[in-house]
Amino acid sequence: MNGGISTTPKERFIAALKGEKLDRPAVGCVTQSVTVDQMEAVGAFWPEAHSDANQMALLGAAGYEVFGFENARIPFCLTVEAEAFGCTVDLGKVDRTPMVKKHLYAAEDTPVFPEGFLEKGRVKTVIEATKLLKQKYGDKLPIVVGTTGPLTIAGHLVGTENLLLMMITDPEAVHKFIKVAAELEKQYLKALVAAGADVIAMSDPSASTDMLSGEMFDEFAKPYTKIAWEGAEGAIKILHICGDTTILLDHMIDTGADALSIEEKVNPAKAVELVAGRAALVGNMGVVRPLLQGTPEECVQHALEIKAAGFNVVAPGCGLAARVPKANIEAMVKTVKG
């Protein structure tokens, strides 16, 4: 970066994700980034915005417009891929994110690949919204598109509980479902990058250490995450996994991710030490405490700690709850920008 010449949020955010040395970290949100305050400010609301490209694009830039996040971010849930496969999704409410209502398959079924899915439903909405954001903000903001990891999608297909049980009772069937999920994800990522996504932030909550051991991650998540990443060529790849990922950081890097987005359950200094520059680090403000339930002062403290630890992007450690108070997010942003 040229010292002295003012940089755009986009230049800073991308440089941070590439691990370049900067005068300060970038600040933003690569996980679910929208709150009710943003909805009110830009006049676009859940649940409508989940299936309307214009409203989605408005909300995708609201983090920047309202709070000064240095990125745009869409969509606001992890159910787009499941719906493409045919799962029933409840789109939720103004302050509740969408949720998969029913899984589709039993263990013995053969999952059907939804041919033509790129032209349909909310997959199409997200692709359209990506294009809109690119047109309007392409020079200024990096367009971050959030997607769902293959293991989590597979959980939506046969039921997460069933999938996890099958890892012991019927591992072959598990592979069958994750494989088809990875193939869809690869094609989806490719379409998103073509539409203008600068960054893909793939979340795989069902691959967390609350669910799986490191060995199970290597068997059931890693190979398929790699397949999905093949579609992200030309974009920066962020892998988000929930929970305490301390023991999982090496495994996450092995997927080929450029950056890791992690929760506050990992000590920030410890994360920087363990990752040792092999990937950029994004996070890890606690989304419940301090962001949802804490005070602005606690948010300042937490942001300072993360900044001092050497995170490349200071951001919420997981998806924002829609009711996170404005003052807490403002405190985070201000602390990082100085």
């Binding site: 509740r96 509980e161 996890l164 890892m167 012991i168 250490t209 669910m211 051991s213 199970m216």
Partner: protein, 212 residues
């Protein structure tokens, strides 16, 4: 002898030997062990061990789920044979996991323990809207409304139950108890529930006190 079978059954649950659970539970009943003892002294203890193994990362979720499935097998055999304690205070309990949360293993254990304590349970399952919980409680004229959640984002529903009961002038007439990992004694006090319990064994005591 009876101890031996109970220990073996607990071990089967902990190890998730799903095919062995039913026959062993039947064997226990045939040996004259009552259903209540099977549930309290074997199955529930086994799930506590599973929980500890999970916390210490010896077990991961697949093993926890397999253990729960194994426990359900034995529960299917034991529950119908439960004899209601003659000294038990009778009561009706509406039990549910609140909307947005699908974690129901703990709720199912609470249900088994409360059933074992002689109460009538109306189990609404998981992911249940507050409105449905309150309506069911009214329809059945229940004395206790028991709600579970393991997730923080869904805690708000617990408060909503209190609000709705107050609105309908049912607070005090119907007693509330909450539980599950996301709740705490402090939280329960803060939102004004009548009771809170750390686990299913404590839940029985608390509910019995509320019924007095």
């Amino acid at each position: 002898m009876s101890n031996e079978i109970l220990e073996k059954l607990a071990d089967v649950v902990v190890k998730g030997k799903i095919k062995e659970a039913k026959p062993l539970a039947e064997e226990a009943l045939a040996a004259g062990i009552d259903a209540k003892t099977i549930i309290f002294d074997s199955l529930s203890k086994a799930m506590a061990v599973v929980g500890e193994k999970y916390e210490s990362k010896q077990y991961f979720l697949p093993q926890v789920l397999l253990a729960a499935q194994t426990m359900y097998q034995a529960l299917d055999v034991a529950l119908p044979k439960l004899e209601v304690d003659a000294n038990a205070v009778p009561g009706k309990v509406v039990l549910a996991v609140v909307e947005g949360d699908v974690h129901d293993i703990g709720k199912n254990i609470v249900k088994a323990m409360l059933t074992g304590a002689g109460l009538t349970i109306f189990d609404l399952g998981r992911d249940v809207p507050v409105k449905n919980i309150v309506e069911k409680a009214k329809a059945e004229d229940a004395q206790i409304v028991a709600a579970s959640t393991l997730m923080t984002p869904t805690l708000a529903s617990m408060k909503e139950i209190e609000r709705m009961l107050a609105e309908e002038n049912l607070k005090g007439k119907m007693k509330t108890i909450i539980g599950g990992g996301a709740t705490s004694k402090e939280f329960a006090a803060q939102i004004g529930t009548d009771g809170w319990a750390y686990d299913a064994v404590e839940a029985v005591q608390v509910v019995q006190n509320l019924l007095k």
